[in-house]
């Protein structure tokens, strides 16, 4: 897809929790303008991999390479500094605050001059930036001043994704972005993911829903029992191939599995 190397690459990553080998020698990569779906059965290590990338877990072994440079990611702040943003399944929004306040939660803009003394918020600047951001990614909400608690599930998910974009990240990790959403709302969120790809971001999506995965992903990365279970090109692979890799039915030779084109 892009002539240059991967945006983010993990090589030989392992993570052990006591007796449980959650990740075992996983190689993983995501390129600019690519959506990679991370699939696998419960306990396959999807969340562990995402949490390792986002700095919540420290890996026991393995190399991180970001934009061709070896880096170390051991805290969430490290990941944020590199330009890796994570959107969690439970959204982490404050229902009582409006869209602007949620987008800027924890990174509010304080006014200049006398406002510094009292740490007065610069609402105008935040609202202006919110309009820009939401317009850029064509996020549709009634008003940036509406309370998040009054929005639909799809709109809330879009706000959560938009919030991760505020720091202009290069890689966005989405944990089950379409879980518990209706058909129309799922479509809204998938459209947003496609726009992230158009903007040249690397996107990693954890999903249980293979229909969504085939709809939005360029590449499907299967984890099985903490080990790589195969990588599939969405254009070429069939749903049966992916299911077989997830369940382990194709242990001796996955036909569709191949390196990305």
């Amino acid at each position: 897809m892009n002539s240059d190397g991967p945006l983010l690459a993990l090589e030989g990553v392992s993570k052990r929790f006591g007796p449980v080998q959650a990740l075992d020698g996983v190689d993983f990569e995501v390129r600019r303008g690519e959506v990679v779906a991370l699939v696998g059965d419960n306990g396959a290590g999807k969340s562990t991999l995402v949490k390792s990338i986002s700095g919540i877990y420290r890996t026991d072994e393995g190399k991180f390479i970001f934009e061709g440079q070896p880096v170390s990611v051991s805290t969430p702040a490290d990941a944020t500094a590199l330009g890796i943003a994570t959107v969690y399944q439970d959204l982490a929004l404050c229902d009582n605050l409006d869209v602007v306040a949620n987008l800027f939660l924890g990174q509010e803009v304080v006014g200049s001059g006398a406002a510094v003394v009292t740490q007065q918020l610069d609402e105008t600047a935040m609202e202006h930036r919110s309009h820009e951001l939401l317009e850029q990614f064509a996020v549709t909400i009634p008003s940036v001043r509406s309370e998040v608690g009054g929005l639909s599930g799809g709109q809330r998910q879009q706000v959560a994704v938009a919030r991760s974009l505020l720091g202009e990240p290069k890689v966005v990790l989405l944990d089950e972005p379409t879980a518990a959403l209706g058909v129309a709302q799922t479509a809204q969120v998938l459209e947003l993911i496609k726009r992230l790809r158009e903007r040249g971001l690397g996107v990693v999506v954890i999903s249980h829903n293979l229909a969504d995965v085939f709809e939005v992903a360029d590449r499907i990365f299967v984890l099985r029992l903490g080990r790589p279970g195969g990588t599939f090109d969405t254009q070429k692979a069939s749903r049966e191939d992916v299911v077989a890799a997830i369940t382990g039915a194709s242990e001796n030779g996955a036909h569709g599995a191949e390196a990305p084109a």
Binding site: L93, L97, E127, H131, G150, G153
Partner: protein, 405 residues
């Protein structure tokens, strides 16, 4: 702004004005709770005036304001605790203890009155920090921590007072807090300054929004707000001036309410308080130090309780073993809840401390004028509080029903 350069105009549409249906919905769901409460105050005043024509006289309204000062100041701190979705049951006891500390230092040890006041206030702050740290550090429910505090600080009050039981305050500086009235001229100057400051900040904010392309240029909205506030201030000063003048106590109460409202609504700290009250886990993940926010909020509650207690001692000219006791705690919590601050956290305003105190104070004052017995007063106030929390719970339920489609 007249020579607008089209290419630099931001491509943002001004937000749509709320429709009439939207305004009605906000009113019902509590966003416009203050309007609802002001209407409630008007109804209460009309009822009492029809029963006793001395109710709406300048002297009685001035007395009413002096009566609600202490509970209103305590409620300001309670609002912050309620915004976190927590509760502080110790504010009554803390107010009594702080007043006793001040009185003992001033009367028994001969401290300078300002130093004695500072000692009382700092005592409240320290108690708040302690309770907040226990609550957030050990994860003990605030209900229990402050219930323990309620008992302990009442004990401390008795200890500080010693065998004396009652300490009379004679120092003019301390009694002056609740018994100073400004001349008519000074009252009008304060009115002009207050209206000017409000109009200035409102217009400044409006101008910034227009420049950023976020608001339409019509001045109707800001002007209506300025006119309403100006009318209220002028009416209040006119009434107070026709009795003894604007009391210092009212100035202190309104000053704290305005300042703490600014802190809650316009500053980084206030935003974080609302965030922790709305979803503490989300706030934590966003990098907000929720432990620090909680400790500061309980420190505010302790400080405001102490200030309220000192104002009460100043008005009553004494501190005794029942200072800060009786129904003070319950009224200080009931006030903001009646005026729309949610018990579930994340919703409310510091104005509700003033409005709530006005509702409760009006009922109490009116029933005194009608010479009703305490039994009736307690039952009526309890009924009003019950009504208010039911409204709060219904509003919350409706929000949830709307939210998750």
């Amino acid at each position: 702004m007249s020579a607008a350069a089209p290419q630099t105009a931001p491509a943002v549409e001004p937000p749509a004005r709320p429709s009439r249906g939207e305004v009605i919905r906000r009113f019902v769901q509590g966003d416009l709770a203050s309007v609802r409460v002001i209407l409630g105050v008007v109804v209460i005043w009309i009822i009492f005036q029809s029963q006793n024509d001395r109710f709406l006289t300048a002297i009685n309204l001035t007395n009413l304001m002096l009566q609600i000062t202490a509970v209103g100041l305590i409620s300001v701190g309670v609002v912050y605790v309620l915004l976190l979705g927590e509760i502080d049951l110790s504010v009554g006891a803390v107010s009594g203890l702080a007043a006793a500390v001040m009185a003992v230092m001033n009367v028994k040890h001969g401290w300078n009155p300002y130093l004695a006041i500072a000692a009382g206030v700092l005592c409240g702050t320290a108690i708040g920090v302690f309770q907040g740290a226990i609550f957030t550090g050990f994860g003990v429910p605030s209900f229990v921590v402050t219930l323990a505090g309620l008992l302990a600080w009442q004990g401390a009050l008795l200890y500080v007072l010693g065998d004396t039981g009652t300490i009379n305050i004679n120092d003019g500086k301390i009694t002056g807090l609740a018994n100073t009235f400004y001349s008519d001229t000074v009252g009008w100057i304060m009115a002009v300054v207050a209206i000017g400051a409000y109009a200035g900040s409102t217009l400044w904010a409006w101008r910034a929004r227009v420049r950023a392309g976020l608001a339409d240029r019509q001045l109707t909205g800001p002007m209506i707000r300025i006119v309403v506030v100006a009318a209220a201030v002028i009416a209040a000063v006119a009434i107070l001036n026709s009795d003894r003048g604007v009391p210092l106590a009212v100035l202190i109460l309104v000053g704290f309410v305005a300042g703490m409202e600014y802190l809650a609504k316009r500053t980084l700290f206030g935003r974080h308080v609302y965030a922790v009250g709305g979803n503490a886990e989300a706030a934590r993940r966003a990098g907000i130090n929720i432990h620090k926010i909680r400790v500061i909020v309980f420190a505010i509650a302790g400080t405001m309780a102490a200030i309220g207690g000192i104002m009460q001692a100043s008005r009553l000219l004494a501190v005794n073993q029942s200072s800060g006791g009786s129904d003070l705690l319950l009224l200080a919590i009931a006030g903001p809840v009646i005026a729309g601050t949610s018990l579930f956290g994340g919703r409310g305003s510091v104005w509700s401390a003033l409005l709530g105190a006005l509702v409760i104070g009006s009922i109490s004052n009116g029933m005194d004028l009608l010479a009703l017995e305490s039994s009736v007063k307690f039952m009526v106030t309890g009924g009003v509080l019950l009504l208010a929390v039911i409204v709060d719970a219904l509003a919350r339920r409706q929000r949830q029903a709307v939210g998750r489609v």
